[in-house]
Every structure is written in structure tokens, then in C-alpha cells.
């Protein structure tokens, strides 16, 4: 089978399946958790719940990342904080502000936006790749992380790493013809999409959900976090 044919498959039916599978799986998991229900709340709230939610989100995105040293999460493990932060920033820049990826969104949701110049995206993806490698090494040698990391963590790492590295190789034309590299990138993306609902990578859905719950709790108790 020619790379062109593999690419057509990975951009066509395989992508179609992976996307629907991911949406199906995420909906299943989210609604499964939500319908476990909450315990009835009999305490009189001391503050506004929705205000609490808004404040936690604002702080999480606009304040803490810029003064991380006031937080324990940073001080206890700056490497994970910085590595993880750079990795997520890189991911955001690459898949939202990279031109080819914006065109994927545009074709799916019908909405486009300006993108960053290729060298910027390219440097950011290199940063993301290096951050991932550092996080992996840390996971292997950190005394506590080592103990709590099982095969699932490493598989998740690999399935996120593959699209990053194949995308980078594609941009730089390393390791084969452009269609062959493109086919590899697409296959790794499709595999990631299938893996997302089956694994902890679905945290990007649950993150907002759990943060909202926390914010609500904080708000209710009038705690300023």
C-alpha cells in the first residue's frame, strides 16, 4: 500500500471513527461521573457558588501561572510544574495556533482564526517535545512518581508523544517522503483520539468539571483561593 493510500485512510475513515469514538467515550465517562450524584447539601452557603467558580478559573489561568512560587504545587516540585506547564502551553500553541491545525478546526466547526508564523510554532513544539522527555525521565527516577506510575502512565506518555514527534518530523521533512510522514502523524493522532476516553488524558474534560466543583465548594464556604 502506498503512503498516499495510508494517508487517505488515516485522514478519512480512520479519523472519522476515532473522532466519533472519542466523543462517544468522553460523553460516556462524563455523564457516568455526573450521574453518580452529589450528597444533598444541607449547610447554608456562606458565599455565592457561581462567584466561587468564576474566581477559581480566573486564578488558575490568569494569576497562579505568573506567580507560581506562592503555591505549594510549585515549590514541592518545580520541575513538574514548569515542565508540565511548558508542555501544555506548547500543545495549545501547536494545535490551536498552528496553521494546519487551525484548518482542521475550521473544517470541523466552520470557524477559523489567525495563526502564528511557522518558526514560532516550530520552536514551541520543540519546547513541548523536550518538556515531555524531561517529564518522562523525572517519572522514571523520582522516588515517589516511580512508585505511582504504572504501564498506563507510560502508554499515555507515548500516545501523546507520538503525534508531537511525528508532527515535528513532518515539518522538518525528516525520515521519509512528506506523505509517509503525514500518514504517520495522522495515524498517531487517530490512536491518541481513541486512547483519550480510555485513559487519564481525558483530564482536559474533567479538569474543568472538577475545578468547577471545587470552585463551587470554595465559594460556598466563602474561602478565598
Amino acid at each position: 500500500m502506498s503512503s498516499q493510500a495510508v494517508l487517505e485512510f488515516a485522514r478519512g475513515p480512520f479519523f472519522y471513527f476515532a473522532l466519533l469514538f472519542m466523543l462517544f467515550g468522553l460523553a460516556y465517562r462524563l455523564f457516568n461521573v455526573i450521574s453518580l450524584g452529589w450528597n444533598k447539601d444541607r449547610v447554608v452557603p456562606m458565599g455565592s457558588k457561581s462567584k466561587g467558580v468564576v474566581i477559581t478559573f480566573l486564578k488558575a489561568f490568569l494569576i497562579w501561572p505568573f506567580i507560581p512560587w506562592v503555591k505549594d504545587t510549585f515549590n514541592r516540585n518545580p520541575l513538574i510544574y514548569i515542565g508540565g506547564g511548558l508542555f501544555h502551553l506548547s500543545l495549545f500553541v501547536v494545535i490551536i495556533l498552528g496553521t494546519p491545525h487551525m484548518l482542521v478546526w475550521k473544517s470541523l466547526i466552520g470557524l477559523g482564526w489567525p495563526t502564528l508564523p511557522l518558526p514560532v510554532v516550530d520552536w514551541m513544539s520543540a519546547v513541548g517535545i523536550i518538556a515531555m522527555v524531561i517529564l518522562l525521565i523525572n517519572r522514571r527516577i523520582h522516588p515517589v512518581l516511580k512508585l505511582i506510575s504504572g504501564p498506563a502512565e507510560f502508554v499515555a506518555w507515548l500516545f501523546v508523544f507520538l503525534p508531537m514527534i511525528t508532527g515535528y518530523m513532518m515539518t522538518h521533512h525528516i525520515g521519509g517522503s512528506y506523505e509517509a510522514l503525514y500518514a504517520r502523524h495522522m495515524i498517531s493522532v487517530d490512536v491518541l483520539m481513541i486512547w483519550i476516553p480510555l485513559s487519564r488524558i481525558s483530564h482536559f474534560v474533567f479538569y474543568f468539571f472538577s475545578r468547577a466543583i471545587h470552585g463551587q465548594e470554595f465559594g460556598k464556604r466563602g474561602v478565598a483561593v
Binding site: S2, L23, F24, A27, F31, N32, V33, V104, K106
Partner: protein, 371 residues
């Protein structure tokens, strides 16, 4: 009259010795045999009279002086004659003339003066007379559904005609995307079961000069290669000659710096379009399209689609009609779920999620009740 040598035929048409020498240089360049390669220099640069005759040119000269003209049978099936048009009207007259002079076209539906039974008979005679020697050029795809009855010439189907002509051919060249990979007729839902030549003729090498139309210099270059060396040029995995299909349009595109800088035209009439920015966001398929378009160009090196402001459609690649919207970014997925499909996936997922949660809860309650 194939018995004449190529040089004799040229001389009888008043081509001087000097022009003859010049032509051998053009030919060498056209076949990518001589530096500067065609890919780098573009054709026009090679049109000057060579100062010295290189060894390759000498080989070509010898061949032209001694070889007999090559019989060609040119079949047209589900085509638009665009590739024939491209070759006969290519404004690279010296090259085309030379190639046409190295050939005797024994059968060509569009170019033949005769028609009907006579021309069919002439084809049969030529196939007998030059069995094992002629070049078979095919233009257009071959319908295979309903026993090939979608395309019938002289009472016989295209499949039958192709197989018959291929059996006695010394070389087979599929010209244009239709003959190479099925082209437009093969686009979904492919109502006629259209196929490319190499899907039907599997026991012989088929050279694919894909494109819509095929770049005439590529067609004539390959024919000339066979006429002179008696062999086919090096091919890629899709059987395209590497000289012409070794690099992508994007590799050689004049808008490439804008791609790198992230400067894109967003519509056909915006500032970016006027400034000559990259056409990627308007759907350019240049990055995955192997073709010499950006170097040989068209109309004697005048321009090519991307240069004149239109994104590359990817016409040298298999299934280019189904390779995503022409004006949609090339990274856009080929198959997109509809809103209904997305709704169904999310809906079923949510329902199952809620369902299992409720079942588990009631099990837990039942369990509590027991204890």
C-alpha cells in the same frame, strides 16, 4: 515512414545541422540527463546552443542519426483530449517537433484523418506490422463495470482494446491522471468502475505521466527517452518518472517563503492574495503533490497555477478528486462526521454513562437494604 532515421526525417524537413545539435541539448535537458537539470534550471535556460557537446548529447546525436522513427499507437478512452491538446499545442515547438519527428503516429483518434472502419483497420495493421516495437500511449480511464460497456469503440470495449494493444507494445505510457489513476471518471461514486491502465495491465511496466493535463514536456521527454535509449526512465512508486515527479510543488514553490513566514492569502481578492502570499489556507495541495509544475511551468515557462494565484489541486496524485475540498486546507480531514452522527455518538455515550451509573447505584442501594 518508420524506416527513415530520425535525422533523415528532420533533414528532409529542412532542420539544419546546427539546429540538430541544439535539439540534442534540449532533449538531454528535457530528459533530465544533463546538467543543469531541468528541475533546477527550468526548460528555457537549456534552450541555448551548447558550447560543447557532452557525452550524453553525443549518445543522443548518435541515436538520432541511426535509430528509426518509433511507431506510436495512441488510444483514447474516458478522456477529454486535454492531454493530447497539451502535447500538440505545447509552445515549446523545437522540443515537440523533435519528438513528433522521432515518432510516426500510427493511430490517434483525434489526429487521424481517416475515420470509422478504415482507421480501425489501420490500427490493426500497425499493431501487426510493428508487433513488439510500438509505444502504446493511453489517454483516459478505462471503465470496467458492466463488462466495460460504458466505453465502446468500433464495437469493442475499452478494456478489450487496451489489452489487445498492450500485448504487442514495447512500452506503455499512461498520459494524464485518468489513464494513470482513473482521474475524474473514478471520482466517487465512480459510476463506470473506471480504472487506470496499470490496474488492468499488470504484466508490463506502465509509465504514469499523471497530471490534468499531463505536462507536455514530461510526456515528450519520456517518449524521447524511449526512442533514443530504448529504455524507460527511472520511476517512483506510483510509476511516475522521477525526473519530473521527484519533488513536490511545495518544494519548488515561489510562494514558499510566505508559507514559512506564516503569511497567507485568506481569499482570492484580499491583500495577501495581491501580495502573492502562500495559498495554503485556500486549500493548496502543493505539499503532497509531486510534479514539475513549479519548475517547467506551462506555456514555455510562463506560469503555473500557484504562480497565477490558484491553489494546487493535486492533479498528479491518485484520487485527487476525492482528496478533500479543492478550497479546503490540506490538513482538513477527508471524512467529517455530520452533526447528526456527532449528536448520536454523544447522545448514546451520555445515555450509556447515565444508565450504568443508575444501575450501579440501585445495585448499591439494594445491597445496603439487604444488610
Amino acid at each position: 515512414m518508420p524506416e527513415e532515421t530520425i535525422q533523415q526525417s528532420l533533414a528532409s524537413q529542412g532542420v539544419s545541422r546546427r539546429d540538430f545539435l541544439k535539439l540534442s541539448g534540449v532533449l538531454a535537458a528535457a530528459m533530465g540527463l544533463q546538467l543543469p537539470p531541468l528541475e533546477k534550471s527550468g526548460l528555457p535556460a537549456a534552450l541555448g546552443v551548447p558550447e560543447q557537446i557532452s557525452p550524453t548529447e553525443q549518445t543522443i546525436l548518435n541515436a538520432l542519426e541511426t535509430k528509426q522513427r518509433l511507431p506510436v499507437i495512441w488510444l483514447e478512452f474516458q478522456d477529454c483530449t486535454g492531454c493530447t491538446e497539451a502535447v500538440t499545442r505545447s509552445v515549446s515547438p523545437s522540443l515537440t517537433n523533435l519528438v513528433l519527428n522521432t515518432l510516426t503516429i500510427e493511430y490517434h483518434e483525434t489526429l487521424a484523418a481517416a475515420a470509422g472502419f478504415q482507421v480501425e483497420q489501420a490500427k490493426q495493421d500497425a499493431m501487426k506490422k510493428y508487433a513488439g516495437q510500438y509505444i502504446l500511449v493511453v489517454e483516459g480511464s478505462i471503465p470496467t463495470d458492466l463488462d466495460g460497456s460504458y466505453c465502446v469503440i468500433g464495437g469493442r470495449s475499452a478494456v478489450e482494446q487496451l489489452k489487445e494493444a498492450a500485448a504487442g507494445a514495447a512500452a506503455i505510457i499512461a498520459v494524464g491522471n485518468c489513464a494513470a489513476y482513473g482521474g475524474l471518471p473514478k471520482a466517487k461514486p465512480n459510476p463506470t468502475g473506471a480504472k487506470g491502465v496499470w490496474e488492468i495491465i499488470t504484466d508490463k511496466a506502465v509509465v504514469n505521466i499523471s497530471g490534468c493535463p499531463a505536462i507536455p514536456e514530461a510526456t515528450t521527454g519520456v517518449i524521447a527517452h524511449f526512442a533514443i535509449f530504448g529504455t524507460l526512465p527511472k520511476l517512483d512508486k506510483l510509476n511516475r518518472p522521477l525526473t519530473f515527479y521527484g519533488k513536490t510543488v511545495h518544494d519548488r514553490c515561489l510562494r514558499r517563503p510566505f508559507y514559512e513566514a506564516g503569511k497567507f492569502a485568506l481569499s482570492f481578492d484580499d491583500e495577501g492574495a495581491r501580495e502573492g502570499h502562500c495559498l495554503y489556507k485556500l486549500g493548496c495541495k502543493g505539499p503532497t503533490t509531486y510534479s514539475a509544475c513549479a519548475t517547467i511551468k506551462w506555456d514555455q515557462g510562463l506560469s503555473f497555477p500557484v504562480q497565477s494565484g490558484h491553489p494546487c489541486l493535486g492533479c498528479t496524485e491518485p484520487n485527487f478528486w476525492d482528496g478533500g475540498g479543492f478550497y479546503e486546507g490540506q490538513s482538513a480531514p477527508l471524512d467529517r462526521p455530520t452533526i447528526t452522527a456527532v449528536g448520536a455518538a454523544v447522545g448514546v455515550g451520555a445515555a450509556l454513562g447515565i444508565g450504568t451509573a443508575l444501575v450501579n447505584q440501585s445495585k448499591k442501594k439494594a445491597h445496603k437494604g439487604e444488610s
